[in-house]
């Protein structure tokens, strides 16, 4: 008996090897890259992360006033802009959201949907679509006598293409089309195009440094608004993602920070802000 086991031992080992192979490949199927981004946003731009099915996420974002005024406004704390955003996962690949921003009293409803996912040893990108409709309720008929409801509307259509390059580094490209039915500057085309760039680099288990930049492709020459550049840190705690950053755009909706960011890094006119998200 002992001899038999001794003789058969290599066969046992061999068959176990086979089992291990099965675990490695066939029994699991496609393996997707996860945690390309930890927040729903990089800083200003949407990331390719979605809320899971039936999960309800509440995001509070602030952009304080310009830090240029220093202690006089406590580095902008006195002039904060707030956005409350509720996002619900209809499925893992389809999210709806509603938000209200105190920048021009803008209501937004949004739809975010995953088209393709990055696979390990497979398709190299995650592609997510983002669409939103915005209603600017701060426009005032007393100031603009010919104002109609349709002038308050704005639309966003955005494609988010991200790639997790290695365990700590992810990049995103965000071609964006947005249309504001009303623009402040007469020379500005209402239909506007932009290209967003974003990235995340993990510094530690719970820390990462994030940055994004929006390159506006058809801004009017006399426009006072600037392309938004933002740099920040993500801090992950259980259940929360806390994002702190500096940016030169005070609005937080896509149409806002691309079309109406007025700060300027070169003269110190930038805003401190944070996004805080909580999953229920």
């Amino acid at each position: 008996m002992k001899y038999l086991i001794f003789i058969l031992f290599p066969i046992f080992v061999f068959s176990q090897d086979n089992l291990l192979n099965e675990i490695d490949t066939d029994s699991i199927g496609k393996q997707y890259e996860i945690a390309t981004f930890k927040g729903l946003k990089i800083v200003n731009f949407e990331s390719t992360k979605l809320v899971a099915k039936d999960e309800f996420t509440f995001i509070v974002s602030h952009r304080f006033g310009t830090i240029e005024n220093g202690i006089n406004t406590f580095f902008g704390l006195d002039d904060a802009v707030t956005r409350l955003n509720f996002v619900f996962g209809i499925s893992d690949g389809l999210n709806i959201g509603v938000s209200r921003s105190s920048f021009q009293k803008i209501y937004e409803s949004s739809l975010k949907y995953r088209i393709l996912r990055q696979e390990k040893n497979g398709f190299p990108f995650t592609i997510v679509g983002f669409n939103a409709i915005l209603i600017n309720t701060a426009l005032d008929k007393d100031n603009l006598p010919k104002l109609e409801f349709k002038h308050r509307l704005g639309y966003t259509a955005q494609l988010l293409i991200s790639r997790k390059i290695n365990t700590s580094f992810s990049l995103e490209l965000a071609p964006t089309f947005f249309h504001d039915n009303y623009v402040l500057i007469d020379e500005q085309n209402n239909s506007q195009f932009a290209l967003g760039f974003g990235g995340r680099y993990k510094l530690g288990k719970r820390w990462s440094i994030n940055a994004d930049y929006g390159w506006h492709l058809n801004r009017a020459d006399n426009s006072p608004f600037k392309n938004p550049l933002s740099i920040g840190f993500d801090l992950e705690t259980g259940g929360h993602v806390f994002q702190m950053h500096f940016t030169n755009a005070q609005p937080m909706n896509t149409n806002g920070f691309l079309g109406q960011g007025s700060g300027d890094w070169s003269d110190g006119n930038i805003y401190f802000g944070f996004n805080l998200s909580r999953v229920f």
Binding site: N69, Q104, Y182, N190, S262
Partner: protein, 120 residues
């Protein structure tokens, strides 16, 4: 599938509502009176400022703009014209958080100052 179909219809409804308006399309170009008085600009102040600049002021405002004297004082000593002229989001821009006033209204207040801040 049915849901997606309904969504597409709703989105299309909104898309047909596209306009290409900007500030000059939505304002009435009135000839500016030869001399602008406080009575002419009072409605601008009332529509846009006194939500917060009441007496006593609300929401962190520090002056009230209810009366002729208030507004005159704000123009002379409190930089009112510069603050309503700067872009939203710039330091000290007013109205706070809102869009900048249409340029024709800002121009009326500037003209009131140039005409000597007359009451009526």
């Amino acid at each position: 599938m049915k849901k997606i179909f309904i969504k597409i219809i709703v989105i299309n409804l909104f898309l047909f509502n596209c306009t290409n308006a900007s500030e000059s399309d939505l304002i009435d170009e009135q000839p500016i009176a030869t001399i602008t008085t406080y009575n002419d600009i009072k409605s601008i102040i009332n529509n846009n400022c006194i939500n917060c600049h009441q007496s006593p002021p609300l929401n962190g405002a520090n002056t009230s703009l209810l009366t002729y004297d208030n507004v005159k004082n704000a123009v002379l000593n409190n930089n009112l014209i510069n603050r309503i002229s700067s872009q939203a989001g710039s330091p000290d821009a007013m109205p706070f958080g809102g869009p900048r006033l249409p340029q024709n209204l800002i121009d009326q207040i500037i003209k009131w100052k140039d005409d000597g801040l007359i009451e009526n």
